[in-house]
Symmetry: D2
C-alpha cells in the first residue's frame, strides 16, 4: 500500500503542501449511483476551516472543494473521484525565516533527515492543512453509510472536562459554540481557558470523544484488520494525537472481569456496553465510542530556543497564524476519519 | 491487503484455530543471508507459552516452532518463510457445552453473526493462541533490526503500578518473575493481587509499557503510515487491548505547549522527550515509549448468565483453562508486534 | 502487496522449496459456509502430479494436501485456510553437483545475484513444484464460482496444433490422454512428438488454450485491475510462459475494425466474439478465451556447457527427473490461476 | 490495492473522464531530491497528444501538465506528486446521440451493466484519454531510472512489419515520422496503409515492440510479482491490447530446449538472448524485449448497427474524432508503463 493512501476497499490517496498551489485527493471505490449532497460536503469543510472564530488560526481559506471526476449529473459513477482545494491565503514569506530552522516538536527535523529536501513553508506536507482532504473524503464516506451516526465533540480542554456520560449529551449542540463542546457551561469554561492560554502566547491540549450509533453488526475484519485497530490507526494519523482508547479504555486496566463483562439480553444486545461496541475486532451492534487525546500545538507565540540544520542555536520567533488549541477544529477530522474506516468495512461486506 | 496479513514490506500472513491441528504463518520479505538464532526464536515462544507458572493458564503446549522454507543451511534465502506450531494439548471436549453459547465479552456472538459457521472450540480463530504466530515472526523481526532494543514489561496490574520512570528501570529484570514486572517489589504486589483475584474466580486488567531504544532517525512513512499509527494498529490487533498512548499520551491533553515542547540540543537530540521519539510520523532518534491498556480476561471461573444462538438464557459455567491476568503473557506479544512494525519500516528505508 | 501473495480480496500466500520439508500456503478471503469437495481438490492435484505417465518427470510425489485451518466440520469458516503438501521424494543428492553451477536458461544465476544465498536443490523456490500450491487454492476457487466453467487444454506441442475452433471441442475428453489434448488424433501426434524429443534428450514447447464459460457480466475492475490484465499477470506467473493473448490476440494486429467489431444482438450478447468476452476490462458475459505460450523446458538430458558462480566453464550433465514438455502438466495450473483471478473479482462484486 | 492505483513502491493513482474538467493523478513513492526535467515530461505528453498529424484524431488538446505538489524548487521532496491536465477541447455534444447507445466493441455495455450510471461522453472513464496520466507518471519514472533505456516503436501495422531484428534498428529514428516506425521505408508503407484504411472509414490494428537496455541484474520479485508478469499486466492495462509476448514469445512453443537455451559466457552474460532478459521472474542484465498486439480501433467512420440500453436496434453513425490506427500514439504509452514497472522494481531494491 502506498503511504499516501488510506483504506482498503474505499481508498483515499492525497497530495498537497500547506503553501503549494492546491491540495487534493482521489477517492477510489465509492459505489456508483450515489446522489451526493454537495452542501453537506462543503459544510464539513467549513466546520474544519481556519478563521472561523477568534479561537483559531486567522489564516483565511475559502476551502472550496472542486470535484473533477467520478461524478456525472450529480451522481457517482463508480469511477475514482478526483478533487481539489486551492490554497488561496498562503503567506509564505512568513516562513522565510524558518528555511533552515527546526522548530521544537514539529516535523522539520525528521522530514529534513528523512528526505533531505523539503518544502519548509508552513510545514509543507506535514501541515494539518492536509486534513482538509480527509474531511472531503470523509463527508462522502458519511453519505455512503448514511444510517450510521458519527458524533464527535470536544470533551476536554486542559483540565476542563465534560463530566457526563455521552448518553446524556445532545450532539446537536456540538456546533453551537466555537469550541465544539455540546455542553454549554463546559464550553464556556473551555473557551475562557483557550483565550487565557492564547493571551499568554501559549497553547493547550485536549480530548475528543466520538460516538458511533446505529452500527450494523459485523463490521471489522480479523485478524489484522480489526475494527478498533483500524480506528486507532486512523486517529493516530491525525496530527498531534497522542492517545486513543475505546470503550472503557485504560480504565479497564483497573477492573475485574466480573465488573467488565457485558452480559447479553435475549435479543443479542448487551445490558451494559463497557466493551465499546466491538468484540474480536467486529462490531456487535452496540454504540462504538472512543476518546482521542491531543497534545498542545507546538507553535507558540513566544520565542523559543532551537537549532538550525547546521546545529547552530537560533531563536524561533512567535510568528505566523496558529491555533491555541487544535481540538475544536479536529472534531470534523475525527468524524471524517471514522467515516472512512466504517465505510471501508461496510463496503467490504456489502 | 488481505486481513490475515500484517505489514507492508515485511509481511506476516497467519492461519490457525485454537483447537485445530496446527497454527502457523508465512513471513514474507525477510532479507536473504540472515543467520537465524533459532534458540532466540524459541525463547520468545517460551516467554509467551501457557503453563509457565501458576499465574497463567495450565494448558500445556510445547509450542515448538518448525520452519518449513525460506531457510537454507541456517540462513534466510529471501524466500517466504513458512512455519508451523502444532496444537498438542487441545481439550476440545471442554468446549462442547459452548457450541451454541455466546460467552459474555467474547467474540462468539460477533463471529457467529458475521460468518454463520464457526469453530467454537476455544474461541477458534479469535483465540489468543494466534499470537504465538506473531511471536515467531516478531522474533525474526528482532533479528533483522538487531541494533534496536525493544523492552516491554508489565507496568500495571489492577491498581498496582510501577511508580518510576522507565529510565530508572533495569529491563534485564523483566523475566525474573512470573508477572514480567522488572521491579521486584511491585512484581510481588502484582503477583499477590493476581493470586487473590484468581482465587475468587475472577480476572484483572493491566498495562504494559514498551520502550524502544537505539532507533535510527527516519523510520515511519507519512501521511497514512505514520510510525505511531502503525504501532497503534499493531497494539490494537492484540486481544483485550483497550488503549494505546505514546510519549505523554493522554496526559498531553492537560498540558501547555510551553511545557510539552522538546527543545533541541545542538547535536539534534532533544533535551526532554515528551514526544516519545516521533515527530510527523517519523522517528527522531530519541527513545520511543508507549503504554498499552488491557481489559480483564472475559472468561471467569464463575457462573455467568448469558444467551445461546437461539436467544435462550443459559448459564456459562466457569470451566476451561484461562489466565487470571493476560498481561504477563502479553509482554512478548507487545514486543513481537513492535518488532514487526519497526523491521517493516526499516526495510522500507534500507 | 507482498510478493509471495496473489490476489486482492481472495489472496493466496505461499511458501516452499522443491526439496524442503513441505510446501504450502494460506488462502485468505474464502467466504464462510462453503462445503468443500475435498476429492475435487485432490483430483486437481493429481492432474498436475509428477509421475503420472511416461511423458512426464518420474519424481513420485504423493501430493496429498493437508488442511490445517479455516475449515470446520467440512465447511469453510471464513478464517484463513492453511494447507500443506509434504515433499516426500526429494532426491537432493542429485543436485549436489549443481551447488555452484548456473544451469542455462534456469533461474540459478538471477536468484544467486539477487539473493546471494539460495537453496540450489531442484531450483529451490523457483521450482515449478510451487505450482502445486496454486492448484490447491485454485481448486477451492473453482468451488467458490462453481457456475463458471473453466476448461484448459493442450492446443499445441511444437508444430502440432488442434486445428478446430474451441466451440467444436469436447472438453470432457481433455483428461483422456497423457497430453491433455481433447482431440484424440492430435493428442496421438503430440505424444509421438514428445516421445521422440525425449528420446533425443531434448524438450519441446507448446501452447495451452483456456476457455471460460458462463461468466457473469461485470467481472473486472478498471483502470488498473482489468480482467485481461490480471489474467495476463496470472499466466506469466507460471514458469516457462512466454506469451499470452486473448480473443483474437496477436491476429488482431492484421485486422480492420469493420472485421473485428462484435455487433450486438438485441439481448445484449454479441453476434461474434472476437473480443474474447471482455470490454474495457470487464466481462461482457460472452466466453472468455485465451492462449498461453510455453517455452521448452530448460533442463535437457544432454550435456550443456555453462559456468559456475566463479565464472569457470563447467559441463552441466543431463541428470535428474524432468518433463520433456511442461504443457500437459500445466493445464491444471492454467485453470487454477484462472479460477483464482475470477473468484477474486467475483468476490469483489458479491 | 485500489483499482485505480498501479504499482507497489512507486504508485500511480489516477482519475478523470474524457469529457470532464480535467484528468490527473498522484504519483507516490518518488524519491526525494530528484531534479525533474519538466521539458522531458511535456515532450512525452506531446508524443502521445492527439492532433499531431493527419493520421490521428483531430481532437486538439494542449495537454499541458500542471504539478501541484511534491516538488519544491524544481526538485522532488519525497511527498506525493499531484498533477492535473485540463480537458480543453471536449465536444461533448458530439456524444449526445450516444447517451443510451452501446457502441460495438466499446466499453459502453459493460460499464453500464457494472455501474448502472456512467459518463457516456467520449467513453468517460474508459477512454484512452486516461493514458495521458500514465505518460506523465512514466516520464518521471524514466528520470528515476535514467540509466535504463526504454525504446518502443511501431513494428507492425496490419500486414506491414519491420523485417529486421531490433539490434539493427536505430531507435533515434522512431520519432522522425508520423507512425513512429524507426525504419523509413516501412514507415512509409504503414502511413500509406493507414491513410487508405482511414479513407474507407475503417481502422487497422498493429504491434509495438519495446526494447529495454542497460537493465541492472536483479529486478523483479518472485513468486507473484515476476518482472514479466508485471510487464504483462501493465501492457494489458492499455486500451486495445490483445497480446503480449517477451523474448521468443509464442514462437517458443515450436522450439526445442536445445535451440532455446541461452548459454552463458564466462562474464555472466549469455551468448544468445532468446529468454528476453528475464529468468525466474528476475532480470539477468541482458536486453528485455517484448511485443504488444493491438486490435483495430472500434470507432469507425461508417454506420454500424447496434443496440441501445433498452435493447432497441439503433444505427451508430460514424461521427466524432478518432484514430484510424491507435498504435503510433500508443508508443509513448508502452514506454511509460514499462518505465513505471521498472522504476517500481528498482526502488524495491535501492
Amino acid at each position: 500500500m502506498a503511504h499516501n493512501t488510506f483504506g482498503n476497499r474505499l481508498t483515499l490517496t492525497t497530495f498537497g503542501e500547506s503553501h503549494g498551489k492546491a491540495i487534493g485527493g482521489i477517492l477510489d471505490g465509492c459505489p456508483s449511483g450515489l446522489t451526493l449532497d454537495f452542501d453537506a460536503i462543503q459544510n464539513e469543510l467549513n466546520r474544519r476551516k481556519p478563521g472561523q472564530s477568534k479561537l483559531v488560526t486567522q489564516r483565511k481559506e475559502n476551502d472550496k472543494v472542486q470535484f473533477l471526476s467520478g461524478i456525472f449529473e450529480g451522481k457517482t459513477t463508480g469511477a475514482s473521484i478526483g478533487f481539489l482545494i486551492e490554497n488561496s491565503n498562503q503567506k509564505s514569506k512568513d516562513y522565510n525565516h524558518l528555511k533552515d530552522v527546526y522548530r521544537p516538536s514539529h516535523a522539520d527535523f525528521t522530514y529534513d533527515k528523512k528526505y533531505g529536501h523539503r518544502d519548509y513553508r508552513g510545514g509543507g506536507r506535514s501541515s494539518a492543512r492536509e486534513t482538509a482532504n480527509w474531511v472531503v473524503a470523509g463527508a462522502i464516506a458519511k453519505q455512503i453509510i448514511k444510517d450510521i451516526q458519527i458524533s464527535a465533540f470536544t470533551s476536554t480542554v486542559g483540565a476542563i472536562t465534560i463530566d457526563k456520560p455521552y448518553q446524556k449529551i445532545d450532539f446537536s449542540k456540538t456546533d453551537t459554540n466555537d469550541v465544539k463542546c455540546p455542553d454549554a457551561k463546559t464550553a464556556k469554561k473551555m473557551i475562557d481557558l483557550i483565550k487565557k492560554v492564547k493571551s499568554e502566547g501559549d497553547t493547550i491540549g485536549g480530548k475528543i470523544t466520538c460516538v458511533v450509533q446505529n452500527v450494523p453488526i459485523g463490521l471489522g475484519e480479523p485478524i489484522f484488520n480489526k475494527l478498533q485497530a483500524q480506528l486507532a490507526k486512523a486517529m493516530f494519523t491525525i496530527n498531534a494525537v497522542k492517545g486513543f482508547e475505546y470503550g472503557t479504555g485504560f480504565c479497564a486496566a483497573a477492573m475485574k472481569g466480573s465488573e467488565h463483562n457485558d452480559l447479553f439480553t435475549t435479543d443479542g444486545t448487551t445490558q451494559s456496553n463497557l466493551s465499546g461496541g466491538i468484540q474480536g475486532g467486529i462490531s456487535n451492534g452496540m454504540d462504538i465510542y472512543f476518546r482521542v487525546g491531543f497534545k498542545p500545538v507546538a507553535t507558540l507565540m513566544k520565542d523559543q530556543e532551537s537549532i538550525d540544520k547546521n546545529g547552530n542555536v537560533v531563536i524561533v520567533k512567535g510568528k505566523g497564524r496558529h491555533d491555541a488549541c487544535v481540538v475544536p477544529r479536529a472534531v470534523p477530522i475525527v468524524e471524517a476519519m471514522t467515516a472512512l474506516v466504517l465505510a471501508d468495512f461496510w463496503l467490504l461486506d456489502n
